[in-house]
């Protein structure tokens, strides 16, 4: 556990808390982007270069932007969170309970006593590519199909029949 890991973890977690608790939706989205960046940083810190950068590219470059666009397109429906709302309290309580259980499970299981290797296992991009296209070629194709279906589905869902302006919005995504 290095200093950089601790810093990145703190950044990620505080940004995530901010993203889930800030009153304005846009701030939430921006904090979420920071949280995703921090998560990518943790991946890089753990030595998973390709995944960390893919995380940045997909989450910060695409998902965060998508969320921002969605927030702007659904303007006027901004509901400010009332801190004392029942759902907020019960949600937090449930989440804390889940965290207690998970933390207990992690700390008492054999995992926390396991000897960990210090060296990063090899993960050259070429090897990842070979693994993806040999061992995992079927899942890869399925993912490709899923993404295509999601693309078409998203376009059709967001398509507004009447005005042609919506078409562009659907296309950009």
């Amino acid at each position: 556990m290095t200093v950089s890991f601790v810093l990145l973890a703190l950044l990620t977690l505080s940004a995530a808390v901010a993203a889930m608790s800030m009153p304005r939706l846009i701030h939430c989205a921006l904090a979420l982007a920071v949280a995703f960046t921090g998560l990518g940083g943790i991946f890089l810190n753990l030595g998973a270069e390709f995944v960390g950068l893919a995380q940045l590219l997909v989450y910060v470059g695409a998902v965060a932007i998508l969320i921002v666009f969605a927030i702007l397109l659904t303007r006027g429906s901004e509901v400010s969170m009332r801190p004392g709302a029942r759902s907020a309290i019960s949600g937090t309580v449930i989440a804390l309970a889940v965290f207690a259980v998970l933390a207990h499970a992690v700390l008492t299981s054999g995992v926390s006593r396991m000897a960990t290797t210090a060296v990063t296992p090899s993960n050259r991009v070429q090897e990842i590519g070979v693994t993806l296209l040999q061992q995992y070629v079927l899942p890869l194709e399925v993912i490709a199909l899923l993404l295509t279906a999601a693309l078409i589905g998203a376009v059709i869902l967001a398509w507004r029949e009447k005005s042609p302006a919506a078409q562009e919005g659907a296309e950009t995504r």
Binding site: T37, L53, A54, G61, L72, V125, Q126, E171, T172
Partner: protein, 407 residues
């Protein structure tokens, strides 16, 4: 005679590696506890010094070049030939009042220029500016470049949204829509290179191209798919960096200045800096991917240091950007989107197919010509078809004025 030749090449090698040697010398000659700091500083400081310097030079060259294109002089007052103009500009922007709108979202408004500049600088980490001259040896360098590049979109949005100005919001939305649309052909056209080079590391891609047949280099731009890919890449790069003719997000005549309307003084200068840094970075990537990076255009010219070649190529690319800016009018939003999705995207996909065909056709004596012809056909035929398709239904019609002719 042979001895002289060897000495000359040895000297050239020395000059070529002068920065690398200096870096090594400086790091080994500092005491152990400070080594990490020195090695970081020796990477960061040159990047922070050279590229903003290039930015300063480019602002003058651009204004002078545009002036000459329009038969004007351009700036010629400050210093010899107006070369000190950027210093005057810097002083001006530093001493200007920093105006922040009252209703603006202060924190986000403040952070946006910082984010955009820092991401622009980060992109240089993976650009090989010379032999053995790269800041970070990343195996997935290209992915890093695109990942960092995609973060600028968020910074643009932050700037546009936090200003509380409808023009800046419109500009930001335009910018993001445009960036996302053109990121697709940008990445797809570089995938063709990745397929051929078999690596995501910019260093290895350059090394792959820095070989010579006779005196001619193996640059990817000299192949059919590489040529098409280069044009696609640079077009998408121009759009990605909001560069004319794709500068709709900051169209002065329509939305004043786009997402940085509400920025003044030094923050505006930061946006300006970031924009140019992005242009340099993406041009540098184009050079790395297609124009052989730091390698010399002819084998015997390799005596000239590799970093000189890189910056010479970069200056040429900047010149081309300026030339294009002086030539073409701004596109309309629908034209922009049509161009991205109906022309650039299919062409980039076809380019990938072409690269694949090129990769798997045998490379025998007869096949060299045949391979060329086949690949050229794969590129040219869809190009002609797409161009005709785009031009169809775009007949220029007599304009009907709905209101003006009633009176």
């Amino acid at each position: 005679m042979n001895g002289y030749f060897a000495m000359a090449t040895g000297l050239a090698e020395r000059v070529d590696q002068i920065f690398v040697t200096f870096d090594h010398w400086a790091v080994t000659n500092t005491p152990e506890p400070l080594r990490w700091l020195v090695s970081i500083l020796l990477i960061v400081v040159p990047i922070l010094a050279v590229f903003p310097g290039l930015f300063a030079l480019t602002t003058v060259l651009e204004r002078k070049g545009l002036g000459r294109i329009q038969n004007r002089y351009g700036p010629n007052r400050v210093g010899p030939y107006g070369l000190l103009q950027p210093i005057a500009d810097a002083v001006k922007s530093l001493t200007k009042e920093d105006v922040v709108p009252r209703t603006a979202d202060g924190v986000v408004h403040y952070l946006a220029p910082l984010v955009i500049v820092s991401t622009a600088f980060l992109a240089y980490a993976v650009l090989p500016v010379g032999r053995n001259m790269i800041a970070v040896h990343l195996d997935a360098g290209l992915l890093f470049f695109f990942a960092i590049g995609s973060a600028t979109e968020l910074a643009v949005f932050m700037a546009g949204w936090s200003s509380r100005n409808k023009y800046s919001l419109l500009g930001a939305m335009r910018a993001i829509a445009q960036m996302i649309s053109y990121e697709v052909p940008l990445i797809l056209s570089s995938i063709a290179v990745i397929m051929i080079a078999g690596t995501l590391s910019p260093e290895k891609i350059v090394l792959e191209q820095a070989q010579y047949t006779g005196i001619f280099p193996h640059w990817y731009v000299f192949t059919p798919w590489g040529f098409a890919g280069f044009l696609l890449f640079m077009t998408a790069a121009a759009a990605e960096t909001n560069r004319s003719p794709f500068d709709l997000p900051e169209g002065e005549s329509e939305i004043i200045a786009g997402y940085f309307v509400e920025y003044s003084g030094f923050k505006f200068a930061l946006f300006f800096l970031a924009e140019y840094l992005e242009i340099f970075a993406v041009s540098g990537l184009g050079i790395t991917l297609f124009l052989g990076g730091w390698s010399a255009p002819l084998s015997f010219l390799a005596v000239i240091p590799s970093w000189i070649w890189f910056f010479a190529k970069l200056l040429v690319m900047i010149g081309v950007f300026i030339w294009v800016r002086g030539t073409m009018p701004r596109l309309r939003m629908d034209q922009l989107m049509n161009f991205a999705w109906k022309f650039m995207l299919p062409m980039a996909l076809i380019d990938m197919v072409c690269a694949g065909v090129w990769r798997f056709l045998p490379g025998g004596a007869l096949w060299v010509v045949l391979r060329w012809l086949i690949c050229a056909a794969i590129i040219v035929v869809p190009y002609v078809a797409l161009a005709r398709g785009l031009e169809q239904g775009r007949k220029i019609e007599q304009r009907v004025y709905r209101y003006a002719e009633e009176g």
